[in-house]
Subunit: 171 residues, 2 copies
């Protein structure tokens, strides 16, 4: 059995760039004053990449259960036809696990601890685990692709490989 | 001076239907079990209507100040080229004020009190006030249209008309 303990690092735009976008209030954003100065718009934060082969944008809510640590990563998925954005509704941190598009390599997995005020947008084809809510169940607003076409592939980590996330690995 | 006190009613899908969609977890939604039973997807909740004239979907965060009641409604806006969805990030209720697309008639204004777990999607052309966050500043994830074209019209309530929202009008 090959045992891998996945290191979890805090989510940043730079760290997540190979996998997609971070949704957050950040002074580096393009910020537009609107509503006669009563609001600031952090404008156009992600690449919504869904319009191929008659795809279109859909908005959904995903209601997730919490995960208990230690957690073993067994199955990953990707959406070959579109990006997929998650923004938490609520106040719980969560963990995302990703690896770059292309041939799946479990040695390349990266784990990020995401603050409740941050969202992620997986680029088309980025391998990702389902969002792992810590402490409590979480809801996410999801912006992804609707339309024809096979848009969800799964891959399993080999049975003789154990990839785990422990409490002490959440820095 | 014509004085109008705007009644504010709780937001429901039925009540908001002339103006757009409500984003909420609701047993009437299409619910899909995903991630091997670990999550429920409330699927495709709104009409994202942005793809005309080379428009495309963008995702932004709007950071709003709170409003103090009583509040006087002075200016409304509409987006003739696209829908605009708001989902709060955080735990504050807010008020939306709308009237149907077409010629603006201040006598037809409707006000809704929105729970923190509810979002709204203004249909293309629906006249709306900026979101009015109660108690505290609020952030919203916004899904609307990017691209060329004049996509924001404003209209002012006449100076001799006072439309106000009072605490006691929030049922």
């Amino acid at each position: 059995m090959t045992e891998i303990k996945l290191q979890i690092e805090p989510l940043t735009k730079q760290g997540f760039a190979p996998y997609g976008d971070v949704i957050e209030v950040n002074s580096e954003n393009q910020i537009i004053s609107i509503n006669h100065g009563l609001a600031d718009r952090h404008h156009d934060l992600i690449k919504v990449d869904v319009n191929n082969e008659n795809g279109h944008t859909i908005v959904s809510i995903i209601d997730t259960q919490k995960v208990c640590l230690p957690f073993r990563v067994c199955v990953m998925e990707r959406h070959p036809l579109g990006s997929q954005a998650f923004m938490p509704i609520g106040n719980n941190p969560y963990i995302v696990v990703v690896t770059e598009p292309g041939e799946f390599d479990y040695n390349q997995l990266k784990g990020f601890l995401v603050r409740p005020d941050q969202g992620v947008n997986y680029a088309k084809g980025t391998w990702h685990h389902s969002c792992m809510s810590l402490y409590e169940a979480n809801q996410f607003l999801v912006v992804d692709r609707g339309g024809q076409g096979a848009n969800c592939d799964f891959v399993a980590v080999p049975d003789n490989v154990s990839i785990t996330i422990d409490d002490e690995d959440c820095l």
